[in-house]
Amino acid sequence: MKNEPGKKVEYQEIEQSLFETQKKIYPRTISGYYANVRWFMVWFTQILFFGTAWLTWNDRQAVLFDLAARKFYIFGLVFWPQDFIYLAVALIISALLLFLVTAVAGRVFCGYACPQSVYTEIFMWIERKIEGDRPARIKLDQLSCPSPRRIALKAAKHSAWIAFSLWTGFTFVGYFTPIHTLTQEVVNFSLGPWQLFWILFYGLATYGNAGWMREQVCKYMCPYARFQSAMFDKDTLTVTYDASQGEKRGSRAKKADYKSLGLGTCIDCSICVQVCPTGIDIRNGLQYECIGCALCIDACNQVMDKMEYPRGLIRYTTEHALTEKLDRHGIVQRMMRPRILIYTGILTLIILVTALSVTLRSPLKFDVIRDRGLPRVTEDGSIYNVYRLQIMNTDEQPRNYVIEVSGIPGATIISDSEFEMPAATTKVIPARVMVPADAAKKGSNKIIFVVRDRDNAAVSVAEKAAFLIPR
């Protein structure tokens, strides 16, 4: 105890840990509009994730990222390492989409589509089915001695979680090695060490993140929460507690006239806190922990219905809507603000350009490398240079290609200039080019190689190279 004379505030100094012990959150189940949207998204994303791996296309897996062969199949498209730019573009599109969605409606991605939320939702469902709802779970954890019932329930829950996690890990690896082969290997216990490692690793990550870490991931690991304030503005829809309606909060009899008691519509039942998967009180205003899942809206509306008060004490609304009393039409009108229009414009442009570029992609790529040796000169003075043509057929069909040279008058290819490329292969073709005497200046001359498809005039690629003539 330390008291400084002349100061009214009395305080003491105590030693405190700088680190917080994790408080376990027991979210209460809730049903309602937003809970239904959430469940719809769980089914949608999981059918997509668990289902797509099993689809077949052109006698191969429809979506397969073959790292060993460096070929990435997405339905009709085959991407090669040379197409890496499309991955960058895909990330840019995702980022812009996130900016746009966040500016319009806050962290709806977090609430409905983020794997962390979706898997937590699935794991909580399993937990609820086995251990019961919030009060039952709290009671179970408060039992001081481990009763057989508690051990049985916990064991059942963790087994179910682990089984689901392993299935997730298996599916994930199934995008990198053909999932049908992988199934056989699992059945025969003949998994390769790396497949086994990644199935276990991804499974463990799912189990740990969705079973144990949950909101800790959103609060402490995810950067998105931390820069939400940079993407929000006063016209962004967020889950908001309308203090002007709710305050002053307090309990009252259902029949009582709360207005004459000086109360708002908030009955301080704390259901909104109990349903929150991140354990916050939305009535304290916008917080970085809020993942925008809107379960508190469902919860509050149920209570309002019971109390026969108007719905929407907690609702999706904007800061301006509260301060300027905007109606629904007004909120929609504010959506057409420059920020949103610019995001939409850039996004549309990039998507269009990418779609165009992917459709017009040539199935033929090639590169020319001149042999480092000296040029050959024959008795009649004609000059030979040898080149290596690295040719790639990225198509899933075999193709017939023809090589041509131009750029120096009389330049001809004195070696096989027609060849067949099997489907999805790379080949090195040596090409010997002859230039007649005195057709070009001494030193380095520009020469152009054209490789074209014999059967499809649209497929043709030109590359520059140097033709050396000795001095």
Binding site: M1, V9, E10, Y11, Q12, E13, I14, E15, Q16, S17, L18, F19, E20, T21, Q22, Q216, K219, Y220, D371, R372, G373, L374, P375, R376, V377, T378, E379, D380, S382, Y384, V386, Y387, R388, I414, S415, D416, V428, I429, P430, A431, R432, M434
Partner: protein
């Protein structure tokens, strides 16, 4: 430098590492608790700060990290001990697993050998002309050739000045499969001594050069060639009386239009200064089974009419047009 390699340094470094790691743990432990001001009732003051104040009014709020985060830090320290124990790194300590980059590399090589060994073994048991008829063997051979041989002999194997053409029937040391294999294994060291002294003065050299050109019917000065003919006796020891060369010692045939260093000027230079050529020995650098495939590929270039990459027509016309100063 030897001072740094003795045992004392190893121990000193190991101690520095261990003490640093322990110090990290102590630092973490000592800094994870802090004195905060709370009201006399034990409840936090309205604004909870760590008590640190800068610039008079800048206070550090206390937003505690979760406890598991701090445990992760301890986890990394435990991990580092386990890592150093298993993989080494403490001074010169090698670690329980005995892992090293070299052993990793050797294991990868071994894995590659078990994977591809049977394929190469299959071809090892076949004789070279039979291997040369196998399209798969030729494909492997071509890749080996492009990787290893094409730097000198060219991607199309037709060589350049000083480096022989491998697609024609003219060979310095012989073109039968066994000789090609020997060339690959042992390498070849071609040597022609400077012959100017034996031939005579500059005019004699010019005359002999013209005579050499006349042997293959190339453009030459007939009168000078006539004068040079007797002087060619000095060359005949290796190249033969008729200038047809001698494969046993790799002396080139001068009576055809295939040249390693062709043209009057180059021939004069050869006589005056001699020539020294080297084909490296690949035994031990490339595995025997791969050399076998390479020999088959090289042999196929001049013997296999069905070889896909070199059509006979292209070969013939090319060797003819390339008759002068280019290759062999």
């Amino acid at each position: 430098m030897a001072d740094f390699i003795n045992g004392w340094w190893s121990i000193a470094i190991a101690w520095v590492v261990v003490i640093s790691m322990l110090a990290c743990g102590v630092l973490l432990w000592s800094q994870s608790k802090i004195k905060v001001k709370v009201g006399t009732d034990g409840k936090p003051l309205p604004v909870e700060t760590t008590g640190h104040v800068w610039d008079g009014d800048l206070r550090e709020n206390n937003n505690p990290l979760p406890g598991w985060w701090m445990k992760l830090f301890y986890g990394t320290i435990i991990f580092s001990f386990a890592y150093l124990l298993l993989y080494g790194g403490l001074g010169s300590y090698k670690g329980l697993l005995g892992w090293s980059q070299v052993s990793e590399y050797e294991e990868e090589l071994k894995a590659g050998d078990t994977l591809y060994g049977p394929l190469f073994q299959k071809f090892m048991t076949m004789d070279i002309p039979t291997v040369a008829k196998d399209p798969q063997a030729l494909e492997i051979g071509e890749r080996l050739f492009l990787n290893t041989c094409a730097q000198c002999h060219g991607s199309d194997a037709q060589g350049v000045k000083g480096y022989p053409n491998l697609t024609d029937k003219d060979w310095l040391y012989g073109g039968d499969p066994q000789t090609i294999l020997t060339t690959l294994h042992e390498g070849r060291s071609g040597f022609m001594p400077p012959m100017a002294g034996a031939v005579g003065n500059a005019d004699d050299v010019l005359n002999v050069a013209n005579y050499v050109l006349s042997l293959s019917g190339s453009t030459h000065d007939a009168a000078k060639a006539q004068l040079g003919k007797p002087k060619f006796a000095a060359c005949a020891a290796c190249h033969g009386e008729d200038g047809k060369g001698m494969q046993a010692m790799g002396a080139p045939n001068l009576a055809d239009k295939i040249w390693l260093y062709g043209g009057l000027d180059s021939i004069i230079e050869s006589i005056n200064k001699g020539r020294k050529n080297l084909m490296p020995a690949y035994k031990g650098i490339i595995d025997d089974d791969k050399l076998h495939l390479l020999a088959a590929y090289v042999w196929s270039l001049s013997n296999n009419p069905s070889n896909s990459t070199q059509t006979p027509a292209a070969n013939d016309s090319a060797s003819k047009t390339l008759a002068s100063p280019s290759n062999k």
